[in-house]
Amino acid sequence: MEHCHSKTGRFPGLKTWSGTQSRGKTPNVHFMNQIALVGTPNVGKSVIFNLLTGARATVSNYPGTTVEVSRGKSSSGRTVLGVVDTPGMYSLMPITEEERVTRRLLLEERPGVVLHVVDAKNLERMLNLTLQLIEAGFPVVLVVNMIDEARRLGINIDFRKLEALLGVPVVATSAVYRLGLDRLREVVAGYRLHTKRQAESQDAPRHLVVYTPEIEKNILKIEQLLSNNYGLTKRAVALLLLQGDREIHELVAKRDTANYDRINELVAGLQASGQESLNFVIGKRRQDRVSKLCRQVVTEWPQHRLSWGERISRLTMQPLTGIPILLLVLYFGLYRFVGVFGAGTLVDYLETGYETVVNPLINSLVTSYVPWPAVQSLLAKDYGVLTLALRYAIAIVLPIVGTFFLVFSVIEDSGYLPRLAMLVDRVFKWVGLSGRAVIPMTLGFGCDTMATMVTRTLESPRERVIATLLLALAIPCSAQLGVILAVLSGRPKAMAVWVGFILLVFILVGFLTARLIPGEPSGFYMELPPMRWPRWQNVLMKTYTRMQWYFVEVLPLFILASVLIWFGELTGVFQFLIAVLTPLVKWLGLPAQTAQVFLFGFFRRDYGAAGLFDLYRSGGLTGTQLVVASATLTLFVPCIAQFTMMIKERGVKTAAAIASFIFPFAFLSGYLLYRLILFLGVSL
């Protein structure tokens, strides 16, 4: 999903490029043999992409998981085709950034075949886009996916008839059960033949949707005024102009400058003549056509029994039962599995093994074979690449992050997250977010860097900034969380104080920023896909790709941090920084060694957390100190990786503003917490 390189990493030389970087750049691929997968979110585009290419895109039961465009290759027989998976789009007229990315791709690359993937259960809601794509002159193949689920619901579709009515090839598939894929490959391979035959049989193009006479008249007039090629049929361009598509208006103003004023007059004139917006009238007309089509091809036997998935779904959405279910998920998934099992049992086991077996071995090998003390301390000893960086990565971070991603994948695949989104939407509104932000926020508990990238799925720039800030400030990543849970697990009171404090900061800061940042709060609307049993192949694959992404991201930084610390030690910079931090740390009532932990934390959040764990193991901290250190460390630093991602996603200015708020704020609130605990005289 969020990570392109892992998706197509098995295909060397393939270009992957993220949505935000794509502007104005056209990747170097053969245009003629390109297949593009388009469709609304959560219809199985990524599954089909994987099956066609053999790649591993993250597939999930959550609308909008494909954030970036991913590319792969498919070979059938002798021909090799490029395949592009696009983020979900609802309509040809884009609203979100992802939709814009998809449309730009369609216009600029002119794929040889456009596979419109739709959900068989919801043809009436899906065919609208098909009509738009056909209207726009794209070489469409309609892929009716999830026929298995539709059959189970008693829905029957006459595919032959649908094909005849639409005039494009229609293929029925059930991608998760790998049905219909062979036929899909055949249709794609024979597509050029098909279109040629079509072109021969019809001289004048026949319009699938005929609009009101007034609109049709204006379409004709506008068509005559357009002289340039926009990668769409003139009819489609005219319709988009009438619908008020800003991007197309700008494009036409640029390319058909001479006629643009006249076109604009026509659009404005037509808009003024009717009561309802043109976009609405055009959309409704198309939908009427779709409904008529569906009446002709779909037969349904109503089912009266509520399925188990549906029953569970209802339970998760009612606050009375939903909140206890959420707490159970958090307790067993996060606390028992990630906290106690991952960060406790597994870490203990691996740490002991590493420290008793691997480290002494490395130390003795390095001291006996490497004569230079400087290089010795680079590789081994206290801060060595092999003894510290690898140990943190393998023995502390790997088990925690692994268990988290496993739980997350199970939850994601079941379809629980959208239900959680609707449950918390009201609460999230207080902090300036919408229920949609549940995904990045939950993912943040795994890795804030990854989550920052996923904030892209949020609708307004305002919401994205708030989410980025809250992720950087108040969402501990899984390594931090795991270590903190392990460190505080023996002290329920300390744990409660830490949870309460972070929650308070989250709500307070969110509440204030929501009022400070201008702009309207975004509305909430979300599709709720059916609840289903998580498929273990899916879960394992997702866990694997996320872990892979994480390690590609993390390990170099661990090593870099080790090298930087070594360099800092050698030159005295490190000691200087610690000397600067020490009074700050003492101000918080913490022992001087924590300064080092805080400094580590900047290199990576989890690095700092691991340092805290070391300190705790040596028994040098009291209950109060543990709470203050945990709280400050949670709030403090977005790590280098997250900070880099913040710059990439939000720009330097916003990232710098967020960071310069967080640094003093973390220490100040740590201090306040410390004073408060002292003042109240609680022993933790």
């Binding site: 609304t40 609802y90 309509s91 007229m93 609203i95 959900d119 259960k121 919801n122 009436e124 809601r125 899906m126 609208n128 539709a150 619901l153 829905i155 008020g244 309802e276 917006s277 976009n279 609405f280 959309g283 409704k284 939908q287 009427d288 779709v290 409904s291 009266h304 509520l306 779904s313 209802r314 959405m317 009612q318 606050p319 959208p418 989104a421 609707m422 449950l423 918390v424 939407d425 009201r426 509104k429 919408s434 229920g435 509305g523 909430f524 609307y525 979300m526 599709e527 709720l528």
Partner: protein, 107 residues
């Protein structure tokens, strides 16, 4: 506006209807709903009102917030459909009891 047209917020849980129109001062919001596939004429059923509105359109369920729900106008479908579905969605013994009482009072 016809008599049986109400905003989604004024519907009862379990009621059926057809989307009548989408009204919102901000045309962008209307566009979003259209893009989601909420077109006038589609059959719709209200499943839940709190904490968010949950509607069933065809075989898909959508969750929307109050503000969005206010901009969806629905032509209610009276009669058997609504009553029947209400029965289905009021599950649990207390719901059954309520339904039972309802049916008495209407007679």
């Amino acid at each position: 506006m016809p008599v049986n047209v109400v905003t989604l917020t004024k519907m009862e849980v379990g009621q059926h209807g057809r989307i009548f129109s989408l009204t919102h001062s901000n045309p962008d919001k209307v566009r979003k709903l259209l893009a989601l596939g909420l077109y006038p004429g589609l059959p719709i059923r209200l499943l839940q009102k709190f904490p968010s509105y949950v509607i069933q359109v065809g075989h898909t369920q959508l969750a929307v917030d109050t503000e969005t729900a206010q901009s969806i106008e629905v032509a209610k479908e009276p009669g058997a459909g609504a009553a029947c579905s209400r029965h289905r969605y009021r599950h649990g013994w207390w719901r059954r009891w309520l339904n039972h009482r309802d049916s008495f009072s209407s007679e």
